[in-house]
């Protein structure tokens, strides 16, 4: 498989001696124009990789913040095709920042897996994270995605033991997303030392970069996680910042983009401080 924007970005930040900062946004929350403005703002504020959530009516692995964002987007008429349109628009002004689509399988299955991977690649998508497709179902989407030149990024969790890890890592590409806690997105804060052990364990099985997410919401946490991980993922905190900036009717305001920019800049500083040598 040829190198993707994801591979290039992780190689670049490694050369800089720092972890990558992976940010999550829900596509169409609360409307496509706002998402497009946010997408453009994220790299400038320090995001290295963008995960774009594909809204789904039944987000079983997500906590209240991401659930609510998805519902806002769906209420605004968001669809899978409109999510791909957003990526296509974004690519007109940014051809380097990797975009990973994250979501659930049914809208893709409804669209048709084979057609979807072709459409996603053409729109400028680099990778997929599909929460409810375990390696046991690789022939459904993972293999067609790899064939189309997309990375297929798998989640590894605290319940993924050494016996199962090779199964999870087979056909994984781009990076491995380590879910730092047993739970849903945006819940309890992870324990940095246990996460470091888990990252080391995964890295014994794969040369791929390991990014860590679920429950990271402050610059300090991001710095602590980033000390060992190759990437730090922040999702619910950003989505919550979007939610807090909306008016009473749930519409975007003049504060929406600046609020997200401010949060992402702060978090990016935390990520960049992760490997700073500690004074002896």
């Amino acid at each position: 498989m040829t190198e993707t924007r994801i591979d290039r970005r992780f190689a670049a930040v490694k050369a800089e001696g720092r972890p990558a900062f992976v940010t999550f946004l829900t596509a169409g929350d609360p409307d496509p124009a706002t998402t497009l403005a946010l997408l453009a703002a994220l790299p400038k504020a320090g995001a290295d990789v963008i995960e774009l959530g594909m809204p789904f009516s039944d987000p079983m692995a997500d906590g209240p913040a991401v659930q609510a964002a998805g519902l806002r987007a769906l209420k605004g008429g968001m669809t899978l095709n409109k999510t791909l349109d957003l990526v296509r628009e974004f690519r007109k002004t940014d051809d380097v920042t990797p975009i990973v689509l994250m979501g659930y399988y049914n809208p893709i299955y409804s669209h048709g897996s084979e057609a979807f991977v072709v459409d996603a690649k053409a729109a400028g998508v680099d990778g997929l994270i599909i929460v409810d497709l375990p390696p046991e179902a690789d022939d459904e989407l993972c293999l067609p995605a790899l064939k189309a030149g997309l990375n297929f990024i798998r989640l590894a969790t605290p319940t993924t033991d050494d016996k199962r890890l090779p199964t999870v890592l087979t056909n994984t590409s781009g990076f491995v997303y380590y879910v730092s806690i047993n739970g849903i997105t945006g819940s309890a804060a992870p324990d940095a030392s246990r996460v470091a052990e888990a990252v080391d364990r995964i890295k014994r099985h794969t040369p791929l970069p390991v990014a860590v997410g679920f429950g990271v919401r402050t610059a300090e946490q991001a710095a602590a996680i980033g000390a060992n991980a190759d990437g730090v993922v922040v999702g619910s905190a950003i989505v919550q910042a979007v939610a807090n900036s909306l008016d009473a009717e749930g519409r975007a305001t003049a504060a929406t983009v600046p609020a997200v920019e401010a949060l992402v800049s702060t978090l990016a500083r935390g990520v960049r401080a992760a490997r700073r040598p500690v004074a002896a």
Binding site: S57, A61, D132, P134, E136, T160, I184, S187
Partner: protein, 407 residues
């Protein structure tokens, strides 16, 4: 879609990965995958252990009251004219429905696996009550997720669950019904993987649940088949059951699947009508295949693959999916699935109550409504078994409200 190749037997599924044809499977988050595999292993071991079967049989007999009766519904038969109708009386089980069959099996499995906490989802509250009951009997703490809408319309069952010591957590997400309760139960499970056993109430979800729940519910059809042979000296001409997720139906149908002369009819919730978007819960009549809650199956969904909510007067039937084995039986043509409207079910509820002195659950009333349509067109030497999956005490407020009877 090409027609599936018809198998020699309809009872051999699922395959080792949990597939019935293209349906079923294990579509879950990675956190849950090791648990699902552990559950499958534990279930296989339990199935092979005669002591497990003996304990379940003993409890089914002395605690739940099995075997349930096969009853000739003479009053209803006379009222309709035509085929003779028999009721499989799951309403007479302890807790008032077929749900106890599955819960007894699963609680024994949970104990075997060393789990210490039970979670469950419920729609009408029958599975919640059965889960709370077996949890009380075996000393497990139990949390039941129930849509806030259902908490409101099924108050008697909410009260029963609380009396039994369960914690009922109302779910306000989505339309606040069964689908949303299942999402929330899955979120709980993913958060409490070490100690928690998820007691799914219907023959759906990731493998091995559809197979396991079917196996525990198949006692219904196995008994009914033997009882019919004993009472009438032959098999029934038709069997009818209501299908929400489909556990009472698959339990009734499965032992008859290879009896080629037995016509099998599953009844879906037609709500306000199949043409009304979000107005029914007939996933196999008005939906298309998709992936939700761990399995591929027929789902109510929009053009973008977003799941629709579904509607039924019966809180136990308004689920936008259906067990994967039903989807396969539909495609193979072995079982025909038909919708019954809300008002047809309400009429059947009243006809059954007045002609038989049996108040059926609104879910079961859907199956009775189909029998009311079919029996008059059949000759009196034909027989129909209707699975009377539960009793209707829980529904009296709903029926009272809709029929203008002041309770």
């Amino acid at each position: 879609m090409t027609a599936p190749i018809l198998p020699n037997s309809f009872t051999t599924g699922p395959d080792e990965r949990g597939h019935f044809g293209i349906y079923g499977g294990r579509y879950v988050a990675e956190t849950l995958m090791p648990l699902i595999l552990e559950l499958q292993e534990a279930y296989e071991a339990a199935k092979a252990d005669p002591a497990f079967a003996a304990e379940l049989s003993n409890l089914s007999n002395h605690y739940a009251g099995r075997p349930s009766k096969l009853y000739f519904a003479e009053g209803l038969t006379r009222h309709l004219g035509g085929a003779r109708i028999f009721f499989k009386r799951e309403d007479l089980n302890h807790t008032g429905s077929h749900k106890i069959n599955n819960c007894l099996g699963q609680i024994l499995l949970a104990r075997r696996m060393g789990k210490t906490r039970i979670i469950a989802e419920t729609g009408a509250g029958q599975h919640g009550v059965a889960s709370a009951t077996v949890s009380a009997r075996f000393g497990f703490p139990c949390v039941v997720y129930m849509g806030a809408t259902d908490v409101e319309r099924q108050k008697p069952n909410v009260f029963r669950m609380k009396l039994l010591g369960a914690e009922v957590k109302p779910v306000t997400a989505g339309n606040a019904t069964l689908k949303d309760a299942m999402n929330e139960a899955l979120r709980d499970w993913v958060t409490n993987v070490e100690d928690t056993y998820y007691m799914i109430g219907t023959a759906a979800g990731p493998h091995p649940y559809p197979e396991m729940v079917r196996d525990f519910q198949s006692v219904i059809g196995t008994e009914a088949r033997a009882q019919m042979l004993e009472q009438q000296g032959r098999l029934p001409d038709m069997i009818i059951a209501a299908v929400g997720g489909g556990s009472n139906a698959i339990g009734m149908f499965h032992p008859f699947l290879d009896d080629k002369d037995v016509e099998i009819v599953g009844v879906e919730a037609g709500g306000h009508g199949i043409d009304v978007e979000n107005g029914h819960a007939a996933s196999m009549t008005g939906g298309r295949p998709g992936v939700l809650h761990g399995n591929r199956t027929y789902l109510l969904q929009d053009a973008d693959g977003q799941i629709l909510e579904g509607h039924s007067v019966s809180a136990g039937l308004d689920y936008p999916g259906v067990g994967p084995e039903h989807s396969w039986l539909r495609d193979t043509g072995r079982v025909s699935y038909v919708p019954i409207l809300d008002n047809e079910a309400l009429d059947a509820f009243q006809v059954c109550t007045r002609t038989e002195g049996i108040i059926p659950a609104l879910e079961s009333a859907h199956a009775i409504a189909e029998a009311i349509k079919r029996a008059p067109k059949m000759s009196p030497d034909k027989t129909i078994i209707v699975n009377l999956s539960g009793r209707g005490d829980k529904d009296i407020h709903t029926v009272g409200k809709l029929t203008g009877i002041d309770i």
